[in-house]
């Protein structure tokens, strides 16, 4: 199938894109990598009248270190993240997660900002941004605003982005030498959406983990943090007993939703499997 007819504009400046977005109202749609949107258009599940291609806007590009943060522009592709030395050094969790995103051809085009703004609960980047305590930098008619990842993802495919706003970049605190992480997803085949996944991060000193962040994805309407399990683990010697407690707590506090092939119970079980592996890996 082919998409319905639409108009296409490619602004060079962020301000121009913002005013196009404001004028267009409900019928305009931003396009960056197009790895989700184009399929939707071709299937005619969505028929916007205007596409605003933002890929020429310089302000949305590039990876850089700004002060104590790693700034990743919204237009940075999954491949760029996978191959970036800055990412490998300052946010190694992202480098580990990138190969799990679909396949190389898709990663070459799909973007960091596109994935975050779309807010798919099974996607890797929303979960990683929560775990890494990222700050979203958003521009709209009123100028710039910043919001933490934990307040950004509201519900299924729903973020705090307003229809007249554009996600410009995110900032992630730089990793230090005590940082440990674990990223894994359980999927039938590589490149499929995970049945359940975990993006975990902590500070490690000996057998003690602190500042833990365990974000599960593909289990509910948004990526979900196991805050009670984190509190259990924080600052305690990580014994087999504590791991078992944390696993039980995570299974209890994350309210999994079934999908078409996997029951809520199966997902709940996998949450514990992932956390156990993650904790053992991070403390090893």
């Amino acid at each position: 199938m082919k998409s319905a007819a639409f108009d296409y504009v490619k602004p060079k400046a962020l301000q121009e894109a913002l005013s196009l977005l404001e004028q267009g109202g409900d019928d305009v749609q931003l396009i960056a990598g197009g790895q989700t949107l184009l399929a939707t258009l071709n299937m005619r599940l969505s028929e916007p009248t205007v596409l605003i291609d933002i890929t020429d806007i310089a302000e949305l590009k590039g990876i850089s270190v700004v002060g104590n943060s790693l700034r990743i522009g919204a237009l940075v592709t999954h491949t760029e993240i996978e191959d970036s030395e800055l990412v490998a050094k300052h946010a190694p969790l992202l480098k580990a997660a990138a190969p799990h995103i679909a396949h190389r051809a898709i990663r070459n085009l799909g973007t960091w900002g596109g994935s975050l703004a779309y807010g798919d609960p099974a996607a890797e980047w929303p979960a990683c941004s929560l775990t890494l305590r990222a700050t979203m930098i958003i521009h709209g008619p009123a100028g710039e605003r910043r919001i933490s990842a934990k307040d950004f993802f509201i519900d299924l495919y729903t973020t705090s982005l307003e229809p007249d706003e554009i996600l410009v970049a995110t900032e992630i605190p730089l990793a230090d030498k005590h940082e440990v992480f674990y990223f894994h997803e359980l999927a039938r085949r590589h490149g499929d959406y995970a049945v359940a996944g975990l993006a975990a991060l902590a500070q490690k000193q000996g057998d003690v983990l602190t500042n833990c962040a365990f974000t599960f994805f593909s289990v509910g309407a948004t990526p979900m943090m196991a805050t009670k399990a984190q509190d259990l683990v924080n600052g305690q010697t990580l014994s087999a007993e504590l791991i078992a407690k944390a696993v039980a707590e995570a299974r209890n506090e994350i309210d999994a939703i079934a999908d078409i092939t996997n029951s809520a119970e199966a997902k709940q079980h996998l949450i514990g499997v992932l956390l156990e592996r993650g904790l053992k890996h991070m403390v090893a």
């Binding site: 199938m1 989700t36 599940l45 779309y118 798919d120 519900d155 299924l156 309407a221 079934a258």
Partner: protein, 158 residues
Amino acid sequence: MELNGEQLISAPIPDVWKGLNDIDVLAKSIPGCEEINRISPDEIHAKVMFKIGPVRARFAGKLLLSDVVPDQSCSMAFEGSGGAAGFAKGKSRVELKQAEGGTLVSYTTEASIGGKLGQIGGRLISASAKKIADDFFQRFAKELGGETVALESDAGGK
């Protein structure tokens, strides 16, 4: 797909019942509702713009009410077609019960979704349905001047 849930609405049973049967209240409560008409006491036709994630499809559908016991319960059968996007049909049962702080609305729904929406959207249909139900009850409670207290709802793939 199955969707079952309970919502506590801080309004008395007769108000909730009246609201559920008032197409003006429904029009304001159903997310994306563009048009709603009562064809007969038991039949309602509606046009709804279904907007979730990547999907924006306009559904035209009808709702048939049966086993109506005022202030207590009713059953409904529904079917809708979203043109190129696909179709949905199913049945639902709604019961109202007096509860502390208002009215407890419990619902059970069985639905099947076909066409492209079913093929591609399958992965997240349950979560989408739950979100739409939650949105509906939130708006509905607001229309009645109350608020909802989410109890539990669970969506199961089937």
